[in-house]
Symmetry: C2
Subunit: 129 residues, 2 copies
């Protein structure tokens, strides 16, 4: 685990690291905290922030403002959101990145990030109508 790079290894951090390792895509601090009842809220938030500062995770927000964490190497993916049930899926295609680079060329100013979101009614919600 990369926390050996300056930080102490503690049981709480071990638990958190193991949980994060099993996570794919993005997740909320709240969800992490609920899955680790033995670890204090403050510690969860502190450690997540620490990982963000260390460049392991990146923190963003969905359009509704809900904060989400994801691994930094997954920075270039986008979201498919069911407008009905709110389920969020990752979406990742090279063509998207290429086209976004083309867009960036036509914009004045320094591009520091981007976001693409598709709103859908997912198969499950469609079938439940």
């Amino acid at each position: 685990m990369l926390e050996d790079l300056g930080y102490r290894m503690t049981p709480s951090r071990r638990l958190l690291a193991r949980l994060l390792g099993s996570k794919a895509g993005s997740f909320s601090a709240e969800a992490i905290s609920e899955e680790l009842p033995t670890v204090g809220r403050a510690t969860v938030y502190r450690t997540l922030k620490l990982l963000v500062d260390a460049g392991v995770l990146c923190k963003t927000a969905l359009p509704d403002g809900a904060p989400r964490y994801s691994f930094d190497d997954a920075r270039h993916h986008h979201h498919v959101i069911c407008a009905d049930c709110g389920k969020v899926e990752e979406f990742r295609k090279p063509v998207v990145e290429r086209l976004l680079r083309e867009m960036a060329k036509e914009v004045r100013g320094a591009v520091v990030g981007h976001r693409v979101e598709l709103y859908i009614t997912c198969a499950k919600c469609l079938s439940e109508r």
Copy 2:
């Protein structure tokens, strides 16, 4: 003002409408509330929500989670947002439509909407550093 469509016209709403009329781009509820000290916080939030529900404004969040309101004058609007000053510009290019068609093809479920946002540091903010 369009609030005649079902809602009562009150001094507070008049003040708010006038202020919004002078606003370009996006703004926070907090900023609005500070510029209208005679109008209660609750009323500001209530009225903004009301305008969102009525389709006059749309509410989104910057990547850091800060909620922002802006006029919803275009249905399929794509935004270029300065992450520094929050200024929002419209962006519409054929390349965007191509990108979205690409994505829609690879998604299961019925696509009901989309959003593309580029985050930049605008020329003005760059020069002020």
